[in-house]
């Protein structure tokens, strides 16, 4: 294993998550990040940011969606070591860090009861967030398209659409 690591071209790693920098040693220890770790794993197991969920772990469900430089991506399909120098935003990074008031988009999900078990919700909110950042007043079809990579086993889709449309109408994308 040491041999494997010696071949790697780097030994430390700095991630920027929700505006904060975190440095890691590259390795297999309990506080280290291994070259084979996915971003989803690192967020949950090293940074304790368990809002990001892992379900399929294969790029097919959207539960692990986070923003990288503002774009929605699936964190289970990214190697952590390839996420340096990128702005990573997780569900924990929404809302106001000073007042602790949640993001209007999150509030809209609550107001519309846009979830049942809630497992898919962080991923859906991050995909919706990416859409609203780019397109503050989307049509219903544009919302559907933007959320087409997010699956919900509880069939909350209709409420989700309402929640995102309502948030957009309120200009709730600050």
């Amino acid at each position: 294993m040491t041999l494997t690591l010696e071949k790697s071209s780097h030994s430390t790693l700095t991630l920027t998550v929700n505006g904060e920098k975190h440095s890691f040693m590259l390795g297999e220890g309990p506080h280290e990040v291994a070259s084979s770790h996915t971003l989803a794993h690192t967020l949950r197991e090293r940074l304790g940011l368990t809002g990001t969920k892992i379900s399929c772990d294969n790029g097919a469900c959207g539960c692990c969606t986070v923003l990288i430089n503002g774009k929605a991506v699936q964190s289970c399909m990214l190697l952590t070591v390839e996420c340096e120098e990128k702005e990573i935003t997780t569900i924990e990074g929404l809302g106001d860090p000073v007042t602790n008031v949640i993001d209007p988009l999150q509030q809209s999900f609550i107001d519309h009861t846009a979830f049942q078990c809630g497992f898919c919700t962080p991923g859906i909110i991050m995909s919706a967030k990416a859409l609203l950042n780019e397109n503050p007043s989307p049509t219903r079809d544009e919302v559907k398209e933007a959320l087409s990579g997010n699956f919900c086993r509880c069939i909350s889709h209709y409420h989700v659409l309402d929640a995102v449309m309502a948030a957009a109408k309120k200009g709730g994308n600050q």
């Binding site: 071949k7 780097h10 699936q74 399909m77 087409s148």
Partner: protein
């Protein structure tokens, strides 16, 4: 995922040197949306020792246009291809194909080069090692193909001999219809190759010391109609059950040029040469379209559970020719 060494490459030359240094034990990682699945499930007989990140190479994610065509860097994401005004205007076929791939999140990181080089999706081939051991089928150097007498509903209906897995790439058929060529870098320098000649029944002609650097598409005639159709059970996420791409030029209903390419019906993308030839000079009608569809699938020999794909393929070809959706 099992551990590997991880190296960032900063140029094509460096990548080629690294590939030579690690002699077949290294794998390139572009977007990783295919590779990570392959690694997580340990489906390959030899797990790579080194992963070479090529996203760190600058300048390979651009779309450059000149009078004769466009050059797309291998690292260009599918999302960037879809958003490109140049591609929308003159190469809409590629935009349509890229737009049907996976989901918005995947398209944000998946690259065009990775799309062309992705491994097959045959579910025996992809069977995870941790669930009872990976399946060493013919494609992995084994002796048999469990799909022949097993669950073969998504497998090849033509052109297969020993491995019946299909080429899953949606962009490949669009690029072949557009007559695109690849720039491939290797230890002996670069070579160019039509995308049409890239695929082989068990993969591609790319050797383990090479990488795709760019894709060149000659500008199609502005009167040529470009179309892409893909049949799936669900709209997002699903791979094609059958996909078709075409460029058909006609003058007042009389066809004078046609290129038709089918995906997910055979181990490689298939050009429907007989149908293309047949269409030239014909006045396009429903009967002519049906006849062309029949010719496109003339050599089909479905397996036990996938004869339905034949009907889907014929219908899609017919719709292409008729300009229907």
């Amino acid at each position: 995922m099992k551990l590997f060494a991880h190296v960032n490459a900063y140029s094509v030359d460096e990548t080629i040197k690294l590939l030579a240094k690690y002699e077949g034990t290294a794998k390139l990682n572009a977007g990783g949306t295919d590779l990570l699945g392959v690694l997580k499930n340990r489906i390959l007989p030899n797990y790579p020792e080194v992963i070479i990140n090529i996203k760190s190479i600058p300048g390979l994610n651009t779309i450059e246009e000149d009078e004769e065509g466009i050059n797309i860097g291998t690292l260009t994401t599918l999302a960037d291809i879809i958003a490109s005004p140049v591609i929308e205007k003159n190469y809409s076929l590629l935009k349509e194909a890229a737009g049907t791939v996976a989901s918005p999140q995947i398209r944000n990181i998946a690259t065009i080069g990775g799309n062309l080089c992705q491994d097959t999706r045959c579910w025996y081939y992809r069977y995870p090692d941790e669930v009872g051991g990976m399946i060493k089928c013919f494609r992995k150097g084994g002796k048999t193909c469990p799909a022949v007498s097993g669950e073969n509903q998504y497998h090849a209906i033509m052109g297969a001999k020993k491995c019946f897995a299909v080429c899953p790439s949606d962009t490949a058929i669009a690029l072949i219809a557009l007559g695109a060529t690849l720039t491939i870098a290797g230890a002996e320098g670069t070579r160019t190759l039509p995308v049409e000649e890239f695929y082989t029944p068990l993969g591609s002609v790319l050797n383990s010391g090479e990488m795709i650097a760019a894709i060149y598409i000659p500008k199609p005639s502005s009167v040529a109609g470009q179309r892409f159709l893909k049949f799936t059970l669900r709209k997002p996420i699903d791979f094609a059950i059958v996909s078709v791409a075409s460029i058909i030029t006609h003058d007042q209903g009389v066809c004078f040029d046609a290129r038709i390419v089918l995906g997910a019906v055979a181990p490689t993308p298939v050009r429907a040469l007989k149908a293309e030839e047949f269409l030239k000079g014909k006045e396009l009608s429903e009967e002519i379209a049906a006849e062309a569809a029949g010719l496109a699938m003339a050599e089909a020999k479905p397996l036990s559970k996938n004869a339905y794909k034949l009907e889907i393929a014929k219908t899609l070809v017919k719709r292409l020719v008729m300009g229907l959706t």
